[in-house]
Symmetry: C2
Subunit: 240 residues, 2 copies
């Protein structure tokens, strides 16, 4: 069905440049291939792993779309990220040897699993691989700090604007249209991610649409004026 799903090695995979092997030479890449223990299919709505599961492998998304979330004892759930093709899942499990979050497929998906103990072994042999792994983990930390900035102070429309811009940028690097796309998640999931309620997300969409910055029809979004979207704070002042 999906052609990329039939390739079996990183060397043949179109996602190479955005995935774990990014920046490695051919020989090094072949070593990674040797790590890929297996490919796993996850159906829409199913979990790749859950909080508390033993941590064995990292996963790279091959096709499909995931959300990761943490929850506290009082039942509140916080979506911590959305992952698309080429992105890594499972880094939170390294700390204690148990996953500290849930990873759920938002559409039928396929991931490559990489045993972490073997990845460490290969990292010891290939400095580029080692450094690359460290960069990946550091990137996740930097990304999380950006989310803290967003959650700590931004208003609803700013949050949504930066969410859309982030999504657009990630789609663009994968060769998809950056200004027109289909959301894979519900308003409630976006709200959980951005620290808002679903009604507020809905209203923020409507408002950005009314300002002529985007067009929204349910899950279909088109960015009409990316420059204005990047300056939503000012636009808000302008509208007042």
């Amino acid at each position: 069905m999906n052609p990329t799903a039939t390739t079996t090695t990183c060397a043949e995979c179109k996602l190479q440049a955005h995935c774990l092997p990014a920046g490695l030479d051919a020989g090094e890449r072949d070593r990674i291939d040797s790590l890929m223990s297996k490919r796993i299919r996850v159906h829409r709505g199913d979990a790749l792993y859950n909080n508390g599961d033993d941590f064995v492998s990292l996963y790279t998304v091959r096709t499909g779309f995931f959300k990761t979330s943490v929850s506290c004892d009082s039942g509140r759930e916080q979506v911590t990220g959305f992952q698309m093709a080429g992105e890594i899942l499972g880094l939170d499990g390294i700390h204690t040897g148990h996953h500290q979050s849930d990873a759920v497929a938002l559409e039928d998906a396929e991931v490559c699993s990489i045993r972490f103990d073997r990845l460490e072994t290969v990292s010891r042999e290939i400095p580029a691989m080692q450094h690359h792994l460290h960069q990946l983990m550091s990137r996740e930390i930097v990304r999380d700090h950006g989310m803290m900035l967003l959650l700590g102070g931004m208003r609803a429309e700013e949050r949504l604007a930066s969410f859309l811009l982030n999504l657009a940028a990630r789609l663009r690097t994968r060769g998809f249209s950056a200004c027109e796309f289909v959301l894979r998640m519900t308003r409630e999931e976006i709200g959980s991610y951005l620290g808002l309620k679903l009604e507020t997300i809905s209203r923020a969409f409507s408002r950005l649409a009314a300002l002529g910055i985007i067009e929204v029809q349910q899950k279909h979004v088109r960015i009409l004026d990316i420059h204005q979207l990047e300056h939503v704070e000012q636009e808000e002042a302008l509208a007042a």
Copy 2:
């Protein structure tokens, strides 16, 4: 002045158990000692590094207290963490080779600097060291996800309560009193960290004090009822 400031090796350092060498055997620890290029003094209010600086080393706090923060173009600043003895600074620099945040001393401090390229070299030789580094980075990711949960949905008093509990726990593992301590940061810095304004922090302190859960006198805090502090959500319902 400070006795720990005169020791020169990890083996002699009292912080061993809470610092980078935690969990390593004596031989491995000696390898870490070989990494410690130098010790750096940072005066209260001075930066250990700033956003954009070249990333060369990680730092472990020896004495003193730091805050790290990121800021966006519109000038808003978000404190991303407070670091005390034994904790690591600088992980955000690995990704791009440039620090992505500021690290400022909240009181006169001393840190050990560890050249990251050398740490990677040693990691390749000592699997335990390698895994330990990965655990450290993963812990930072897990911590950040916890902050996202806090920033995403908690009310002011819950945020302050979990901040105080976290501080208490970290002080306890270092042998300090967990129920009585002096805050090293201002209300404004706490507010930035917790996504609130300083007035709200002040009110939250007053309210927790009025409920008999804590005692506050400026920067001096005493936890009177740690169990109640852990259940502030319920207490709030109770008070209504």
